[in-house]
């Protein structure tokens, strides 16, 4: 029998920082972000590109807040707190920028399968995507050349609409729904999987998620871990299982039960969340708050459940 080692592991002590949010004093640990300070106060700050398991990329700008002394608004998801900061989360400037960000996205991206919060925010902030005009027809975005674009057709609002990409048995990529939040790129890259099968390519309104020269996923480095799909907030990336059930009108989250268990493959002990509808697994995710996986899985854990329901 082994004697016990001290169970504690090194944890750096953090000092506290005091700041003011919407007129109220808030104390949070040093190194916290303004977003964390807001959430500690129970203040809702909308976020799209933020996820607690990924380093903030602060690109969507829907979480901006007004920081006294700062010329422009600041992204709350990435700005660390500093003593004495005075932050406003509901000023007219903040509301205008959030409204416009939501409006710009909603006018250019199909948000039909986005998280429910997005639609609530669109209403709450009064975004009016229709004022940018009717949508222009889908285009070939994968071959756009940086620095060149055709003049916009008068009266139509350009969108990111394009043909759905379905080139393998497990993933569907519908980039008409992509808000370019960078989460999939981060999850495929340094933040988790380190496969780098996809990256942001092109620039400006033509920026897009792409493999090298848009080769099909089976020709890319993709290893089908599904970690990109797990972090996608809009359904642009979807498992075939979910996509097809939705297409058949069968997808019903109210009828689904989510059960946490341990993956039946290797000995790492990844936690699975099995989404079960009518005694069939329709999707597999992993809890973000479990430090073995931080929400990530491999291809076996993600898709290798068919053996339990008559596959193979």
């Amino acid at each position: 029998m082994t004697t016990m080692a001290p169970a504690s592991t090194p944890v750096a002590l953090r000092r506290n920082v005091e700041l003011t949010v919407d007129g109220e004093p808030v104390t949070v640990p040093e190194g916290s972000t303004i977003l964390e300070a807001c959430r500690a106060q129970g203040i809702e700050v909308p976020t799209l590109c933020y996820l607690e398991t990924l380093a903030p990329v602060n690109v969507c700008r829907v979480c901006v807040v007004e920081l006294e002394g700062s010329r422009a608004l600041v992204p709350s998801c990435s700005r660390p707190v500093a003593a004495g900061m005075v932050v406003h989360t509901a000023s007219e400037r903040v509301r205008t920028s959030r409204r416009m960000v939501l409006e710009l996205l909603a006018s250019s991206v199909d948000l039909s399968t986005a998280d429910g919060d997005v639609h609530r925010w669109i209403d709450e902030y009064g975004a009016r995507p229709e004022r940018h005009g009717p949508s222009a027809p889908p285009g070939d975005r994968d071959h756009a050349h940086a620095g060149h674009h055709e003049p916009p057709e008068v009266g139509l609002a350009a969108t990111v609409a394009q043909v759905v990409k379905r080139d393998n048995d497990q993933y569907v990529r519908d980039y008409s729904k992509c808000i370019l939040c960078y989460k999939c790129v981060e999850a495929c890259g340094e933040e988790a999987q380190n496969t780098f099968a996809i990256a942001v390519a092109g620039r400006g309104f033509d920026a897009r998620i792409s493999t090298e020269l848009d080769v099909a996923l089976p020709d890319s480095a993709c290893v089908y871990c599904g970690n990109c799909i797990a972090v996608c907030p809009t359904g642009a990336l979807m498992f075939v299982s979910e996509h097809d059930l939705r297409a058949q009108g069968e997808w019903d989250e109210d009828r689904q039960e989510v059960t946490r268990t341990v993956c039946p493959y290797c000995g790492v002990g990844c936690n699975l969340e099995l989404h079960v509808q009518d005694n069939r697994i329709v999707k597999v995710t992993s809890p973000l708050d479990h430090d073995v996986t931080s929400g990530n899985l491999c291809v076996k854990g993600r898709f290798g459940f068919e053996f339990a329901q008559g596959g193979g």
């Binding site: 060149h148 400006g204 480095a221």
Partner: protein, 629 residues
């Protein structure tokens, strides 16, 4: 890394191009021939991959120049060499306008159709080309494409000729006429780039009576290839002085001179250098930002084409003062002459011990590299520039952290533009007190202005800070052909308009700030009453739509929407009322200014807003208030 690179092998030409930058492959695992030793050992790892990633852009340039385009196989080979994922490399490469991924004719002529050239010719300079040589991209051996500003604004027209293969590279042609295009088409791939005339620098004050040029005093008067000529003209005395004074002495001098950065933000140069110098994290870097891409700006081109040693000397002073042992000159990719002359100058300086392990016998180490951009305005934003140098997408970083704390390669970094660095030489040459006596109390020294458009004597001008707009225009002979002035675009695409009533505007930081405008990069585009203002402002909107990096929503979608609204207004087909459209533009303006990550997005609506305020877009659609059916 466990890469999956494309299976198709590169051509010999592609391999040669990549190897010309990276050297021969070191083992069979990274692009070379497999040897028996490779069967038992491979040396790789993240540290090595990270340390080589910065070579991505130079290697992409090499392939593009050698082959004329970048194939999947070439990208794959390059990635194997750099231990870099092909998707990432593509993500980087596709963010630059000068890289292409489909076979292209061997000769590509990029023709400027930007604001200054439009103002100069009163219309779209590419219309005639399209009529004579077909639409952009047509042609099998020679083709043409419209381009944003190429930095030859004083000539009123310009082209960048790009030729692939042996004897290939890039060359500038300015002025550039449809006749030049006819000759290029006739020559085809036989065109010899070195036979094309090097564009002149127009410095109308040079030799003029009473003009006391400082920054421009050597331009056109020295052989730009001769280090000895530069030294004979007083060159490298500033470095000697800086070494004698030591870092704290130099910084004190800059602070006393009240030198402010010429990049637009007007940050005190001495304070910036001091912050880098005292940062305990090592190593430090210093970067000269010569990615001049602001439409209407050509001062760096003039300075670097004709006085390259001055920048090297100034950068060396910055390095030894801030404790940086490595410097970079980030030069825009469209300046082939400056690139060649800077490279030559750096080699000469190294040869004479003015760069290297013992700078001017001081025992201090400093060396620099010249790196070229590849057609991305955003790379001039300092943090996007760092990303570009590091081989990443030229996307601005969120600030803070600021470069002096975490800049290039995550290390403390100083970055100044060319004019600021050259002004440092003047401070050291004349002494802080004398320097500060020039200009105004709050804006000391002289300033360069790029005059173009409908002006009698376009060119690069140097005047004391605080000189009025009217006197500057007077120096340049006023509006060309005696026509009447409609407006002046001050500061470039990120600037704003002033009008005939603003001739008393003092061109100092505080003067323009009080007037709600900006000096920006010193752009002064003169517009007379013949210029098509809607097309002019539309070009600016198109420019931002093209140059946005696409990272943040306000700029990525906002610049698209701005161009669309403008298009509707110009066409007289507003959605709802004109008032609705103007409200939409105001909203776009606010989200761009307030919520964009960087200065590009924050100023992307500036010209449009300014034009509307001044009523420059005419009365047509904009005055109507009736709803469209």
């Amino acid at each position: 890394m466990d890469l999956r690179t494309p299976e198709a092998p590169p051509t010999a030409e592609e391999r040669f191009a990549v190897d010309s930058v990276l050297g021969p492959p070191e083992s069979g695992w990274f692009g070379g021939e497999r040897t028996p030793l490779d069967g038992h050992v491979a040396l790789g790892g993240l540290a090595k991959a990270r340390s080589r990633r910065h070579l991505l852009l130079p290697a992409l340039h090499a392939v593009q120049e050698q082959v004329g385009w970048i194939s999947l196989a070439a990208l794959g080979y390059l990635c194997e060499r750099l231990d870099l994922a092909p998707a990432e490399a593509y993500g980087v490469a596709s963010a630059y306008a000068l890289f292409t991924f489909e076979p292209a004719p061997p000769v590509v002529v990029h023709v400027c159709d930007d604001v200054a050239c439009r103002a100069a010719c009163g219309g779209d300079p590419t219309e005639e080309l399209a009529a004579r040589h077909g639409p952009p991209g047509s042609g099998t051996t020679v083709t043409w494409r419209p381009s944003p500003c190429l930095g030859h604004c004083e000539h009123g027209s310009a082209a960048l000729v790009q030729k692939a293969g042996a004897g290939g590279g890039r060359a500038s042609l300015a002025p550039f006429t449809a006749g030049d295009m006819d000759r290029l088409v006739a020559l085809g791939p036989q065109v010899e780039l070195e036979d094309l005339p090097v564009p002149l620098a127009l410095v109308p004050q040079a030799g003029a009576e009473g003009s006391q040029l400082r920054l421009l005093r050597r331009v056109g008067r020295l052989d730009p290839s001769s280090l000895d000529a530069y030294r004979a003209a007083g060159g490298y005395e500033g470095l000697r002085r800086a070494l004698e004074m030591g870092p704290s002495g130099v910084i004190a001098e800059l602070e006393e001179a009240k030198l402010l950065g010429r990049g637009g933000a007007a940050f005190p140069t001495g304070a910036k250098w001091a912050a880098v110098a005292r940062n305990p994290v090592r190593p430090h870097y210093f970067v000269a930002n010569a990615d001049e891409s602001e439409p209407g700006t050509f001062k760096d081109r003039v300075l670097l084409d004709h006085d390259p040693y001055a920048l090297l000397e100034a950068l060396t002073i910055a390095g030894v003062t801030t404790g940086a042992e490595k410097g970079f000159v980030y030069l825009r990719g469209e300046y082939p002459v400056a690139a060649a002359r800077l490279e030559h100058a750096a080699a000469e300086a190294r040869n004479r011990g003015l760069l290297g392990s013992d700078v001017m016998g001081s025992g201090l180490r400093f060396d620099l590299e010249v790196r070229r951009g590849a057609g991305a305005y955003i790379a001039g934003e300092e943090t996007a520039l760092f990303n570009s140098l590091e081989g990443r997408r030229p996307e601005p970083r969120n600030k803070p952290p600021f470069p002096v704390d975490r800049g290039l390669f995550e290390k403390p970094t100083g970055v100044n533009n060319v004019e600021t660095l050259l002004s440092v030489l003047e401070v050291l040459a004349m002494g802080a007190a004398a320097y500060a006596r020039q200009g105004t109390p709050d804006s000391t020294g002289t300033r360069l202005f790029c005059l173009s458009g409908c002006v009698a004597r376009p060119g690069l001008y140097e005047v004391p800070m605080g000189t009025t707009l009217g006197s500057l225009l007077g120096l340049a002979g006023g509006v060309a052909e005696g026509r009447s002035l409609r407006a002046v675009l001050l500061g470039g695409a990120a600037g704003s308009f002033v009008g005939p009533e603003d001739m008393d505007l003092p061109l100092s930081f505080e003067g323009v700030r009080a007037a709600g405008t900006t000096l920006g990069s010193g752009v002064v585009v003169v517009l007379d009453d013949t210029v098509d203002m809607t097309a002019f402002v539309g070009r600016v909107a198109r420019f931002f739509r093209d140059e946005s990096c696409g990272q943040c929503v306000p700029c990525r979608v906002g610049t698209q929407r701005q161009e669309e609204v403008l298009g509707r207004l110009v066409a007289g087909r507003p959605l709802g009322s004109v008032g609705d459209e103007l409200a939409l533009l105001a909203d776009l303006d606010q989200v761009l200014r307030d919520a964009s990550i960087c200065g590009l997005g924050q100023t992307a609506s500036s010209v449009v807003t300014s034009a509307l305020r001044r009523g420059l877009l005419g009365n047509g659609a904009l005055s109507g208030n009736g709803r469209q059916p």
